[in-house]
């Protein structure tokens, strides 16, 4: 790598960390194509670097989100039970399932849910946010509140449709173990779409969780020799920088703006997933 290429990779990674921290995703959608198409990096090393990118976004952003009460740690830990189990099943299934069809299916689902995102574009906080918590939400302590600096008030919320959210999270884990993609967008969709948590809480809690999902499979990539410091070092430093900036920003923007940042990421992941399924390797 020339110093110019190092600088280019660093700059792209800052953007990936920034968008990832705000949208609740790992930034692989930006990092992988930038490395392979932009800098001619081998796809395996690019995926290894994207695992590093996911963990860097997660740890860098969540440090602030946990402190600022944007991350709901109980929601996160409860749902990690589903994602880690799903990820193990996915990794075990990866050997026996031909994933081409699954890529296309996942891509179609993601593009479909983009429509739902558009229909919610006008909504600042979920209408049920102030409704009383269900029995299950109370027992699992999945009702809480977060400080919204933009609205200038404390916003109460309670998780809805918890079993559905749990199943979707299991699928999110399964998919990331099986296909190594889409882990963050599926988590945000499960929390925002199914469980009706406020968008910022969904994004911050997804950020908190994706590092754990990625760590579960990081050993595989390290062992395979897919993590090359020459590529992964500028990616990690750039993503951490971007994630730290993004985590400061989230407090001050509206839930609508977060959705506006999430939507193109969702569409891009959907399109890239379908492209992979149809054999256009990116």
């Amino acid at each position: 790598m020339t110093p110019q290429a190092d600088l280019g990779i660093f700059a792209i990674s800052v953007a990936a960390g920034l968008i990832g921290a705000l949208a609740g995703v790992g930034g692989g959608i930006l990092v992988i194509p930038a490395l392979t198409i932009g800098f001619g990096v081998d796809i395996h090393l690019a995926i290894g670097a994207s695992i590093v990118s996911v963990i860097a976004t997660s740890s860098g952003a969540a440090a602030a989100y946990v402190r600022d009460r944007m991350t709901d740690m109980r929601v996160g830990m409860f749902l990690e039970l589903a994602t880690t189990t799903g990820a193990v099943c996915g990794a075990l299934l990866a050997a026996v399932v031909a994933p081409a069809f699954l890529y296309v299916l996942l891509g179609v689902i993601l593009l479909g849910s983009a429509g739902m995102q558009v229909s919610r574009m006008g909504e600042e906080t979920p209408p049920t946010a102030s409704a009383s918590a269900s029995g299950l939400a109370t027992r699992l302590r999945l009702a809480s509140s977060y400080p919204d600096r933009k609205l200038g008030s404390e916003v109460a919320y309670s998780a809805q449709r918890i079993p559905l959210g749990f199943v979707l999270m299991w699928i999110a884990g399964l998919v990331s173990g099986l296909l190594g993609i889409g882990s963050g967008v599926l988590k945000v969709l499960a929390m925002d779409g199914a469980m009706r948590l406020p968008m910022k809480v969904s994004s911050a809690t997804s950020n908190f969780m994706i590092g754990v999902t990625a760590a579960a499979s990081a050993g595989i990539y390290l062992g395979r020799g897919d993590v090359d410091p020459q590529i992964a070092a500028p990616v990690a430093l750039g993503v951490l920088t971007g994630a730290l900036i993004g985590a400061r920003l989230l407090q001050h923007i509206s839930n609508r703006s977060v959705r506006l940042i999430f939507l193109p990421v969702l569409i891009a992941v959907g399109l890239e997933t379908i492209a992979r399924g149809l054999g256009f390797g990116i």
Binding site: L45, S59, R67, M77, L81, A214, A215, I220, P229, A233
Partner: protein
């Protein structure tokens, strides 16, 4: 333990993980700009093993290979989420929340199993 202290502890684990790993990665990266990704700050012979091999880090760290220093940082970064889950187990237990201490312990066990088994 109060919820505030719990959050500070988990946030602290993440900050330490991020700062320590970023420091090693940055030192390794800058050193690589000086002596190359195959070089050594002690002027030892060029590395014979690939920079993607994490199994011989201690020996390569001893000769101050920039790649090995960056790898130590990357390994620290990859271990940070695991440390965060472990800290959460302690936090929920000290908070007296048995249900979540149990849930988090289960997550930690699944995580450690997957790291040890899936390789």
């Amino acid at each position: 333990m109060t919820p505030e202290r719990f959050r500070e502890m988990v946030s602290g684990v993440l900050i330490v993980g991020v700062v320590v790993s970023a420091a090693f990665i940055a030192v390794g990266f800058v050193a690589a700009l000086a002596v190359g990704w195959q070089g050594s700050l002690l002027g030892a012979a060029a590395a014979t093993s690939a920079n993607t091999d994490f199994s011989n880090l201690p020996r390569r760290l001893a000769t101050l290979e920039p790649a090995a220093i960056a790898q130590l940082g990357l390994a620290t970064l990859l271990a940070t989420p695991v440390a965060r889950v472990a800290a959460s187990v302690v936090g929920f237990a000290l908070e007296g929340d048995r249900l979540y201490a149990a849930i988090t312990t289960a997550v930690l066990l699944i995580l450690l199993t997957s790291i040890l088994v899936l390789r």
